[in-house]
């Protein structure tokens, strides 16, 4: 970026490009904790539902399922903590930390959603936002926040089965009868887990495409926290503030 800036000719005082600290540390921490936890949860979950390894010998020599479940449960707690960090930062972070939330009661949110939807329908890139645009934020809310909490809560309900009447059982155990029993809850917990694979495919493809095609340093922003903007881009984020 610096190279291209130098080659650009613009009047002194007229700033047309810049760098801004968008993703604060807790946001990035939460992102990578979620990535790590979901990867661990998914493969251990697959093993728990259909154990493939078959160690021979006596049972006291092995603890395969035991360890896999332990990893699954620990990763589940990591995911929960990551979500709690993110929820907390929604309230105390900068405006970008709130940009992914569907502010359905705000006219500005609907305006941004409409503008973005119309551009997408015309196969246009849409307006560049440093935070999330209303449509992207909506997708994140459904995919990550909605399904993420679904997985966390149903997972905790299943986890609580080993200690009925305990803390988690009291807190989220009501989900079991709500879904018509443990078998049904298990089935949905497993099915919805695949939505993370669907999400990961879309998410990774889109950020790589965007970052590669527009050279905007999108991927590095979730490591460094900095995003680059062009003249006019900052105006698109006004709706959230």
């Amino acid at each position: 970026m610096a190279t291209s800036l130098r080659t650009l000719r613009f009047d002194p005082g007229e700033i047309r490009y810049g760098r801004r600290y968008v993703w604060e540390f807790p946001i990035r921490l939460s992102h990578w904790l979620t990535v790590a936890a979901v990867i661990m949860l998914f493969w251990t979950g697959l093993y728990i539902s259909w154990p493939q390894l078959a160690p021979s010998g006596e049972p006291w020599q092995h603890f395969v399922m035991g360890y896999v479940r332990m990893i699954h449960f620990i990763s589940g707690y990591v995911l929960l903590i990551s979500f709690l960090i993110r929820s907390y930062w929604f309230w105390v972070g900068n405006n970008y930390a709130r940009s992914g939330f569907p502010f359905v009661w705000k006219a500005s949110w609907w305006a941004d959603l409409k503008a973005q939807a119309l551009k997408y329908l015309k196969l246009h890139r849409g307006n560049v936002h440093l935070g999330h645009n209303a449509m992207g934020g909506l997708a994140y809310t459904i995919f990550v926040i909605g399904l993420g909490w679904f997985m966390i809560l149903t997972g905790l309900a299943l986890y609580s089965e080993s200690n009925p009447g305990g803390f988690w059982s009291t807190l989220v155990g009501w989900l079991i009868p709500l879904f018509g029993g443990s078998m049904q809850l298990r089935m949905w917990h497993h099915t919805v887990a695949w939505s993370f694979v669907v999400f990961a495919v879309i998410h990774i493809y889109v950020v790589m495409f965007d970052s590669g095609h527009y050279n905007n340093g999108l991927i590095s922003s979730i490591v460094s926290g900095f995003k680059f903007w062009e003249e006019g881009d900052l105006d698109n984020d006004r709706w959230v503030s």
Partner: protein, 391 residues
């Protein structure tokens, strides 16, 4: 006949030739099964000795009578005896001496003589479609009989899976509209004792509790007696073993399964007659419902303590859990996704969705590459293009 002149359980047992030693043994065993402290055994004994028997009306609805069958095959010698003697079983379709009009009169008489004092035990459930005509007793629909009898009952015990959660006859598509007792009766204390069939010791335990303490045992979310679960946290001593024996809804079959070590080790039966099956490995992959099922069968077992499904090499089908018939197939680990059109396993659904997404992303990439190769840009407002033109 007023209540206090009725004989107590102990009186009747003595009359039946049960000696005091056997009686005390029974009281101790039942107290242990209930998770009671040893200090409370005298209370059980006192209740049995002094309190008049509970008048009980035992109704049979849409069911197979396996609850009653199980009942008379308990492991403790006098358990069956106790149950049949402890309570005054004044009306029971299958066990009473009276027949015809006499029998029905008996039911009406108890309802009149002990309003709000008799226990209603229900085996089976009531079909509700077409006015309940699919189950009639003495020319009356079972639905009516159930609601009429429940109105004056002190408490209702729903024996077995039929009464507690519907069982076979309520499985999809449920042609007779069979519904469990708790959905048909309101404003009544209902104790659900699901299992198909319930274990005799469990049934005795519930009745002993009602007789001794004159109140309902603590119930869990599904209305099943959870038997002092708070004690488990504090009870780390020898009593824990008594408690484990009694916590028939507090612990999954899985948690006290004798094959649990194979589960934790990751050793599973893959086929019915493979080496693992011969070695008694875990039946998890054969569809065992042990991890989701709360029951006492792995402790008490059935038929005078002979065996229970897992002990006989068959996976648990979760008969004490709600809708267990609809959670099939029985020999599949996870039930199928019940969305119309995709009767499929969760994994198959997930793989298809993931593949469609990946193909979609791939198609976009290919079209992008093609457009780039042909020298066209992918839409206006392109940052890279703007930048290029300025350089």
């Amino acid at each position: 006949m007023p209540v206090h002149t009725r004989p107590s359980t102990y009186d009747l047992l003595r009359a039946h030739g049960v000696d005091r030693r056997s009686f005390l043994k029974f009281c101790t065993a039942t107290a242990a099964a209930l998770g009671l402290e040893p200090a409370l055994v005298p209370q059980v004994v006192a209740a049995m000795e002094n309190k008049p028997r509970l008048p009980v009306i035992w109704l049979h609805g849409l069911e197979c009578t396996c609850c009653s069958e199980s009942f008379i095959r308990s492991s403790h010698l006098i358990v069956a005896d106790i149950v049949l003697n402890m309570i005054s079983l004044d009306y029971d379709d299958t066990l009473m001496a009276a027949a015809g009009h006499q029998a029905e009169e008996n039911r009406k008489r108890i309802m009149k003589e002990y309003p709000g004092n008799y226990i209603l035990a229900v085996e089976g459930n009531a079909p509700t479609k077409d006015g309940g005509v699919y189950c009639t007793v003495a020319g009356e629909t079972f639905l009516n009989i159930l609601q009429e009898t429940a109105a004056g009952a002190k408490a209702v015990i729903a024996w077995g899976s039929c009464a507690s959660n519907g069982c076979v006859q309520a499985a999809r598509p449920n042609p007779t509209g069979a519904r469990p007792v708790h959905e048909l009766i309101s404003h009544k204390a209902i104790i659900n004792v699901p299992v198909c069939p319930p274990i005799a010791e469990v049934m005795t335990g519930v009745i002993t509790y009602l007789l001794t303490f004159d109140k309902l045992p603590q119930l869990d979310r599904f209305g099943r007696p959870s038997m002092f679960y708070g004690q488990r946290i504090h009870d780390k001593c020898y009593r824990r073993s008594f408690f484990d024996a009694g916590q028939f809804v507090e612990q999954r079959i899985h948690d006290k399964c004798y094959r649990r070590s194979f589960f934790d080790a990751g050793q599973f039966v893959e086929q019915w007659d493979d080496d693992g099956a011969r070695k008694g490995w875990c039946l998890y992959k054969m569809g065992c419902r042990g991890p989701m099922t709360y029951n006492s069968c792995s402790t008490f077992k059935w038929n005078e303590g002979v065996s229970f499904p897992i002990g006989s090499g068959h996976p648990c089908i979760g008969c004490s859990e709600e809708n267990f018939w609809d959670n099939g197939p029985f020999y599949q680990r996870l039930s199928s996704v019940p969305v119309p059109g995709i009767e499929s396993t969760p994994d198959r659904v997930g793989k298809v969705l993931a593949t469609i997404t990946a193909v979609g992303a791939g198609a976009h990439l290919v079209s992008y590459a093609a457009r780039k190769a042909s020298g066209k840009n992918s839409g206006g407002g392109d940052a890279a293009a703007v930048q290029d033109s300025k350089e």
